[in-house]
Symmetry: C4
Subunit: 286 residues, 4 copies
């Protein structure tokens, strides 16, 4: 690498990592989020359509320039930071072809506002904390998925014919059971079913009880993992205690040593730990 190029990269790196640069990007993100919000109003689009379009494109170009600068500075280390990948993917959405009536992709442009998470450190920390809670939940989530799947297959077989809008096919049943799991309007569904299947309440009550119990334990898993840092204090106490004990043992060893080496101390060598302990036990019983 030419030293001149190195010099340029270093300057760009300093710029990209500067506090001021990040604040500027934050402002652009907020501004872009606002324009995307205003764009939802048909009236505003009719009046200021061109201005909004231009503003949106300027913001997009700023983001692209920022990402290119970062790639230029960090090269392949760019992909190491998951937040860079997050920014890259979100900005990338805007370059997917949206001409063919894919309003969904156009709507995804507003995900750019989520870039706020990657530039504001406190939000970044919160999201990181949320993500670290996920691995501890994976087993329970798999269990919940299994329960949902089994209940959905059973529901489709039992009530598919009677209530096709709720249990018509497997995906519909899965959605219905997800709704029941969130506790929203499950009784209406059941009361409708009970007209043809008077025992359907067993199905719902068992499902609600199992789900509530498993979801509760999912919550507890998150709470307990959140409290693990509190528990770290306890472990520090145990470590400190062990060190203290070591100290006392060494103190007693030093005492014993002196006993052996000092000529004026006629303590017999048998005066070992066990004896002391029994002596102590005896003295305790006084």
């Amino acid at each position: 690498m030419a030293p001149q190029e190195f010099f340029v990269r270093e300057r760009v790196r300093r710029l990209v990592e500067s506090r001021r640069f990040q604040q500027a990007i934050t402002v652009v993100i907020l501004f872009n989020a606002a324009t995307l919000g205003i764009e939802t109003s048909a009236e505003a689009v009719a009046r200021y359509g061109t201005e909004l379009h231009v503003a949106d494109h300027i913001a997009l170009y700023v983001f692209v320039a920022e990402i290119l600068a970062k790639i230029y500075v960090y090269r392949w280390r760019f992909v190491r930071d998951p937040w860079n990948v997050f920014d890259f993917v979100i900005v990338g959405f805007s370059f997917l072809p949206t001409a063919g009536g894919l309003s969904v992709l156009r709507a995804l442009r507003v995900l750019r506002a989520l870039r706020l998470i990657s530039v504001v450190p406190s939000l970044r920390r919160v999201v990181s904390a949320l993500l670290t809670a996920i691995p501890g939940m994976s087993s329970i989530v798999v269990l919940l998925g299994l329960v949902l799947y089994v209940a959905a297959v059973m529901g489709t077989k039992l009530y598919g014919a009677a209530a096709p809008e709720y249990f018509g096919d497997l995906p519909t049943s899965l959605y219905t059971l997800f709704q029941v799991m969130t506790g929203d309007g499950w009784s209406d569904i059941n009361r409708e079913l009970m007209r043809t299947h008077p025992s359907s309440w067993i199905y719902f009550v068992v499902f609600v009880l199992i789900c509530t119990f498993v979801v509760l334990n999912l919550f507890i898993a998150v709470v307990v993992s959140a409290m693990e840092e509190e528990a770290r204090d306890d472990r520090a106490t145990l470590t400190e205690l062990a060190a203290l004990r070591e100290e006392i043992r060494s103190l007693r060893e030093s005492l014993g040593e002196r006993v052996h080496s000092g000529p004026s101390m006629p303590v017999p060598p048998a005066h070992d730990r066990r004896l002391l302990d029994s002596a102590h036990a005896a003295s305790d019983g006084r």
Copy 2:
């Protein structure tokens, strides 16, 4: 037992307990769960009905063979492991007569997918943890059942005539109150009742308050039992502290011993523990 038979059993045992065997069973379970899911689609059954039927039966035979192998290996110890019993019962469902229009029993076949819990260790651990939380909840569950029963009897007597679809008889009332307990649509029921019984809100408000409070305490019982392992750390600290104290006492005993045995130490024998303590107390007061 002939040594040859012993040899065969040993080989079967090794096969059954091997990691590869368990992975194969896991694959069969997942495959069977998928075919049972596909079977819910009338279209798929119309096209691939025979294939699905055959696949289902193959999976079933694999499970039966697995269970027979385990019984052959472990003999009566087979029933000791509750997960074996779980597998046995779930596979057994498939052999109950389903000819007589018992669509429920046919639907129960999908419970086989739950066998995933018994073969995947992490799921097994999660479910075991969930089950251990249950005994600690039993008293509160009984209390909740009692509250439900009393409220259901009262509801049936008071509102049975006015709202038969909600409080017509005891089972209907129990179901309605279970629904109220999950917080779903209780206000609609009450507003309907209040037309004829203007004071029915007292019944509902009191029931909702008591249930919320008891259920909250049920949740707390689960949380607290989940945190008991955190508390174990504290108990470890206490044990460690007790050991430390023992050590120090024995250290002092050894010091006192030396005082007695050493001729150059004119400390009087009365220089016992109590005296030291009082001396210390005096020195504290300085």
Copy 3:
């Protein structure tokens, strides 16, 4: 008191406090709960009306006899045990005049099933634990009541004319807000109101946010009070630590004592605690 009477009382006391007696009462309670449940079925009353009536009266007389026996044994100390008062009040309900169409009082007879709580020790413990959690919640409950009252007065004034069925007068508003607080169907009420009062969503969103926050803190208060017994472990650790420190101080005092009294120890009297500490600090810095 005549010694004979004392003898009788003592025998009755032993009977009343015997395990067998309490088990018999438990059976009567369960039996009575069952008959009261069966009585809710019009069909059963038509067939076995007299039998049910007799069974109910027998159970009632057993309860009355039990309470009279307890009053005879404990005299005025009877009212000291709140569970006795609980039993007395619940059984007393059955003697209120029910002739005048007061179906409510008849329905209250089923409260006798709650006597199960006072005779089964584990239920008794659970309910006691629930009740001890209440004082810690009182301030937050008062705060919640205040928020409800203020919101109800405001709701009545603002929306009383527009939605009389929800905010017609103060009690109706209080009930509606209680319903909103339990999270049931608040959006329906609001969507109806927003037709005439487009800004009513502010009222509801603010109320929902404040209530959720206060109720959350109410829950936390219960959780924290439930975990106080865990915290007791910590306090035990601190007490143990203090004792340990005492022990070590006294050990050092004894060492100092020997230094003073022993002629072969030329340690100067100035060799006091502070000096030792500074020496230690120096040695630490090595």
Copy 4:
């Protein structure tokens, strides 16, 4: 300041801070809350309109007098206590012009009942505790707001045309999503949307999952901050342990000192800490 004026101020201060004065204010607040509640009944206003009006004004004048007395006593320090500012603002509402049909401002008069919080110490403490929990929640609340905003913009773009009453414009979408977040009736909205947009369930399920997860973590943040005072115990234990260790070190130093200074102790100077430790390690291995 003239000594006479000082004397007067001192007397007023004592009066304002006296327990009896605060009790009197509490009574006036409760009385005023009651009259404001009674005012919601059109019938009561028709009969006792004048009396209620007079009572309300008397209470208001008492509050004004109280605030003026406090300002007189504390001068500019009055605004230091946030509770004084709270009282000032709430009483101030009553002097805003209400003539122009601003029924909202008239309704805000009932906020005066909230003054109960500032005069009853236990309520004051509870509210202070609630407020201290807020800063710890700010990051998650901002995150939740961001998620709501992004989802609302997307919802408006995707479903604005199909369901104008739910996603017509940005504020409507925000309100709808707040409702979904509280778990009330989201399935009805979705089932309506799915008629025209069969994939809308993805939008709702993803939103519900993310919101539940973030709100759950918001709750945990509050719980953990509430338990920090429990954790303080642990820290006290660590401090105590450190002190204990110091004590033991100093004890050993004193022992070492004696070894050096005492002529009858032929322990070599090399008998330092490290040697003792190794000796101890050796003795451990026995």
